[in-house]
């Protein structure tokens, strides 16, 4: 990893450490394994979705429908479970379900040459509505005797979901840096015309990126179902903004060509830390929102300053 990309991550990472320590100084319980574990676990859903969103944002796109995909896929996942499918099939089918949603986003964006912002603004409503229609507006509860999924987002020790999140971040960091696909994602986001000129199959790369984003949302949906033991069509409302914020805090540029999954993970952790720290310190909820918002703005300002110095 080059020095420059380490520096890019250093800002968000320092912010995370500083924020964590400030809360910790006010409430030493922040440093107990219990709280660390809970922060990690609560980050899984946003971080998983943010891994997919990072690729989308690096490629110069955006996916506003990610929260809706999570909701719809979590309803699908819960339905699969109630029908008695094995966990492997539930995972595979739900991820595939999310991937199809993502592919729809990508195909519409590429095929009709529409702005992804507009396309996913539309599919955000379509997917959300679809989830409500299918679930008849009420959550699909898992049967009470199904306990297989609990270990993914709870139980004793590190939940599987946390391991999965860390593994995904490592794998996708390598994919972005060390594969042709990864380099093409950056090239498309940095300058689509250049990518075309250089013989990159831009439509294919874009569709793949959105499909991957959808698949990650599908995986996040399984985690969401595992966490709440239900598939709720109204879940993850507004989560797209948390996901995008995590990616941006992590140093990605909304104009494309820059970003890292490790940064997105740090961004997601930072937001969970603020939420947890505020509850632990009995800070009233509205202040949590103010602090989270302020951190996002500061992250963006730091990003601008960094760019100005580089230019």
């Amino acid at each position: 990893m080059s020095i420059r990309s380490i520096l890019t991550l250093l800002g968000p990472f320092l912010a995370l450490v500083v924020v964590y320590c400030i809360f910790g100084a006010m409430k030493p319980a922040m440093f107990t394994s219990d709280v660390v574990l809970s922060v990690l676990t609560q980050t899984v859903i946003v971080a998983t979705a943010a891994i997919g969103m990072t690729l989308i944002i690096i490629s110069g796109g955006i996916d506003l429908s990610v929260g809706s995909i999570i909701a719809m896929a979590s309803v699908a996942a819960a339905t699969f479970v109630t029908k008695g499918y094995s966990p492997l099939i539930v995972f595979v089918c739900t991820i595939a379900f999310g991937a199809i949603c993502g592919m729809i986003n990508g195909s519409l964006t590429v095929g009709l040459r529409l702005l992804p912002f507009i396309v996913t603004l539309g599919t955000m409503q379509i997917f959300r509505g679809g989830a409500k229609v299918y679930a008849k507006g009420t959550p699909v509860n898992l049967p009470f005797d199904v306990t297989t999924y609990k270990a993914w987002m709870g139980g004793s020790g590190l939940p599987y979901g946390v391991w999965m999140m860390v593994a995904l971040v490592l794998v996708m960091t390598l994919v972005l840096r060390l594969t042709r696909f990864g380099r093409y994602v950056f090239a498309v986001g940095s300058n689509e015309n250049t990518a075309t000129l250089c013989g990159v199959n831009v439509p294919k790369v874009k569709i793949l990126v959105y499909t991957f984003g959808g698949a990650m949302a599908g995986l996040a949906a399984v985690m969401n179902m595992a966490k709440s033991s239900q598939g709720d069509p109204t879940t993850a409302m507004g989560m797209e903004l948390d996901v995008i914020a995590a990616v941006v805090i992590g140093g990605a540029s909304l104009s494309g060509g820059e970003g890292s999954v490790l940064g997105a993970l740090i961004g997601a952790l930072l937001m969970t830390t603020i939420r947890t720290g505020c509850v632990l310190n009995a800070i009233p909820t509205p202040w949590t929102e103010v602090i989270t918002g302020a951190i996002i703005v500061v992250a963006v300002i730091i990003d601008r300053l960094r760019h100005r110095r580089a230019a």
Partner: protein, 323 residues
């Protein structure tokens, strides 16, 4: 843009159907809930339909897509006023809906408010038909105090800022719990958030704050609606604390019944949404027909406990809210 366009379309279609219904001389009453997804509102709809069948009127049941979309609900009120003889409304916001409702009543159409209060509206609305939410909170407080034996530390997980009905429940609870000098409220400043997953995170963090060894430094918990009760229950289960703390919630679903049986939930306050829907529509009809209507109608709140959940009356009430 898109949403309001489709609303206009709905309004236009409804206008056409209204003319048709006008020809058969039936009254049309619009029932506008806060949302349409919760089972709770489906029970309200069932009650409204029951009244419709009984009194021979048409009922249009139409609500906003999101439970916090005040402006969409305002549009619904204005549009429905054009084609209905009366409106039964569960306002999303105590003040935001006030002007829209006043405009409707100024034109001579009665409006019955159900579920949640509308601020400073007693002068122009027909009736306020609701669970006495404060009373619901008080019932919860008395139950929690009873099972705690009148002493201990308790935490309240609130629902959402600006939601009048849950605010009242939380206030009612806090008022009543003060009467028990042995009980101390150690947290009432956290709001759970709009979705069950958010509520679960907040609840988990709150429990972490009161963690003490393998247990908790608090002995009692109160939650004010289905979302935060569900989130708290999941959080307790996730931390293996379910059953180790006395827990009183609000509303009901299948998971809650399971938890009541397992001793993880020690009581939940049930409203009577069917009755609310029924009495809401009935009050509107009475007003149109010139019959006297009570300005405030309490639809009642019932404490469901592991002990009484098998009673016929309670079981019937549960059935209105759990599939």
């Amino acid at each position: 843009m898109k949403a309001s366009l489709s609303l206009d379309l709905v309004a236009a279609l409804a206008l056409v159907s209204c003319k048709e219904s006008g020809s058969n001389g039936k009254l049309t009453i619009a029932v506008i809930p806060k949302g349409t997804t919760h089972l709770y509102w489906k029970s309200v709809e069932a009650g409204a339909n029951k009244a419709a069948a009984e009194f021979g009127v048409n009922v249009t049941f139409i609500g906003p897509q999101k439970e916090d979309d005040r402006s969409q609900q305002i549009d619904l009120v204005r549009n429905q006023a054009l084609q209905s003889d009366a409106i039964v409304l569960a306002p999303l916001d105590a003040t935001a809906l006030r002007d829209a409702v006043k405009d409707v009543t100024d034109k001579g159409k009665p409006v019955v408010i159900i579920d949640s209060a509308l601020a400073d509206s007693s002068a122009f609305i027909t009736s306020y038909v609701a669970t006495d939410n404060r009373e619901g909170g008080r019932i919860g407080a008395r139950r929690l105090a009873e099972i705690l034996g009148g002493k201990g530390k308790v935490a309240v997980l609130r629902y959402l800022q600006g939601s009048a009905s849950t605010d009242h429940r939380e206030e009612g609870f806090l008022e009543e719990i003060k009467k028990f000098p042995g009980i101390e409220v150690v947290s009432a400043e956290q709001y759970a958030g709009a979705t069950a997953t958010q509520a679960q995170d907040t609840a988990t963090n709150l429990l972490t704050r009161f963690a003490e060894g393998d247990g908790l430094s608090i002995q009692g918990i109160f939650c004010s609606n289905q979302t935060n009760t569900y989130g708290m229950l999941q959080a307790l289960r996730g931390k293996n604390l379910a059953g180790k703390v006395k827990f009183v919630g609000f509303d009901c679903d299948a998971t809650f019944l399971d938890a009541l049986k397992k001793g993880e939930l020690h009581g939940t306050v049930l409203q009577d949404p069917v009755n609310m829907g029924y009495l809401g529509v009935k009050s509107a009809i009475d007003k149109i027909k010139g019959t006297a209507v009570q300005p405030v109608v309490d639809t009642g709140a019932t404490m469901v406990t592991p002990e009484n959940m098998a009673d016929a009356k309670v079981a019937a009430l549960i059935k209105t809210q759990v599939q």
